[in-house]
Symmetry: C2
Subunit: 325 residues, 2 copies
């Protein structure tokens, strides 16, 4: 378990790259991407050999008003089909379903009637039983499934062990290590990854990694955990994602040696569409306020407010975070 799998010059066929630009990036712009953006992103991902593209959330329309968000917070079947048709490509389509914020019993078609291939169930560690209920439902409908255990850096070792045992006994296909707060260093990200990998050893289940870039470690943690056997890698165009953002898709494609990946179409997309988003004022990426919340292993919401308020008094913000509780 302590040995690296493969080497820096080799190809690992088990690696799958998932583009989460619309989903995690949607948290930066209220999911208000133009149809052209999403359509061109789909084409760029297909041409670049990306394995999965996540379109957004399947959020409850009872809990969230459709008029207040872009369509990718809800991922209606017809909206995805308007982009991908019958998806005549090798790339699979994913959506995310949050425990407690999704009407999963009513809002999902059987896989045979849907263009969606994979449902990713996001939960906190105390929600694992609810997540497994969803996973088994999606499995019965015919979907691939993942379980993305968020904020794992705040869970205890005992909790995590129990959660992984329960998931290993479930139908889930992929279990994700999610560094929600960007608080992990490569050294402890790899130690955690080894715990996940050990839990599924001897099964067909895979381990994924979802990084946040609070300490400029999203790419490093992704390639370090993959070197020990993690095989599902989340990334986004230019790292677009909540707060400090995610692992950059372009960096990952630069690193991977599998000839099926081609970075060129990613670069074409970035220079046309991602730079335009930034020019419109959509903000994400590493900055000191996110480093502080990563360092302190806490939710970035105060750092996001600091960003939205266009504050630069980093030292005052840092002092606030140090306040006793």
């Amino acid at each position: 378990m302590n040995l690296r799998k493969g080497n820096l010059m080799g190809v690992r066929d088990d690696i799958k790259v998932l583009d989460a630009t619309i989903r995690d990036g949607g948290l930066c712009n209220n999911f208000e991407f133009s149809d052209e953006f999403v359509s061109e992103l789909y084409k760029a991902n297909v041409r670049s050999g990306i394995d999965y593209m996540e379109f957004g959330y399947k959020a409850s329309k009872h809990m969230f008003d459709e008029s207040e968000f872009g369509k990718w917070k809800f991922c209606n079947e017809e909206d995805i089909r308007a982009i991908v048709g019958e998806n005549p490509s090798d790339m699979k389509i994913a959506v995310m379903a949050d425990v407690g914020r999704c009407d999963y019993k009513t809002d999902f078609l059987p896989k045979s009637e849907s263009v969606i291939d994979m449902v990713r169930v996001a939960c906190y560690i105390h929600q694992i039983p609810a997540a497994i209920d969803m996973i088994e439902h999606f499995h019965t409908l015919g979907y691939e499934t993942t379980c993305n255990i968020m904020a794992v850096s705040q869970a205890s070792s005992d909790q995590l062990k129990q959660a992984l045992d329960m998931l290993t006994a479930s139908s889930v296909d992929v279990i994700y290590l999610v560094d929600s707060f960007g608080s992990l260093y490569p050294e402890n990200a790899c130690e955690l990854a080894k715990v996940y990998l050990a839990a599924v050893e001897g099964t067909d289940k895979k381990i994924g990694f979802h990084a946040h870039n609070n300490q400029n470690l999203a790419f490093a943690n992704t390639i370090e955990t993959l070197s020990y056997g993690v095989s599902y890698l989340d990334a986004t165009m230019q790292g677009m994602g909540r707060g400090a953002g995610n692992c950059s898709l372009e960096l990952i494609l630069g690193f991977l040696k599998n000839p099926k990946y081609n970075i060129y179409y990613i670069l074409k997309f970035i220079e046309k569409y991602m730079l335009a988003l930034k020019a419109q004022g959509v903000v994400w990426g590493y900055d000191l306020q996110y480093f502080f919340t990563g360092l302190m292993n806490c939710h970035p919401r105060e750092a996001i407010a600091f960003t939205n308020d266009k504050r630069t008094d980093y030292s005052e913000f840092y002092k606030t975070l140090l306040d006793n509780v």
Copy 2:
């Protein structure tokens, strides 16, 4: 040699942090820092417990016209003293001397007459004999010395072994692993660090790491190599340095647990002085063009030109770099 030294919660007293903002950052603004900037940087570094501050280069005045650069390309004794006086602090003063671009036999006072503590000799691997000649001279004058072997990612294993053997037999105090092109991943940075560490095992010599951030790995590579025993860590304020820049001093101070370090004064400095530099148009930091040259293990000069020309046609630039030679 394969074991990590210390752990993520511990303090390693052998760690020394060197602020290279004026020296490597000076490559971004022609060394034209105001006296106030340098004076406040000195104070912030002293208050934050930084171990060494590098003031700039001791460049040959025969090869470089003093009127064309800021004063920190030359680091006259009186200019340093105008900032630090007799340097009544625990922080040591460093300057860099490039092989072949420095009049080292005439431009250095004996240590007893100078406020400089350490001379860092930068060289390419074929210049090791010249570097050792300089190192022995500086040693005789009474200075601490380092040898910073640049562009080591382009050297062969045999060359590197010979260079390390020669340096181990010299009077040098610290040998630096320098990732000039930002091409190293944590995995091969650590393998290289182990080669350096093995070369000096059983001696009093130390190993340092100088990162570049072309692939957003400067901080990751720094903390990963330090975990295997590297102890001299170069960093700069907000990563300011040529092209994609260096490891950020604030990230390193967040990582290190030694109570002698205090990040607060670094943050105060950044919010007042570094943001002002950026507002003046001084540019550094990760961008796609630097990622490409890092990936291809080549000098960033074409990427710097791309930046200076304010180009954003990343895909064309990438294609150019792929041209056959």
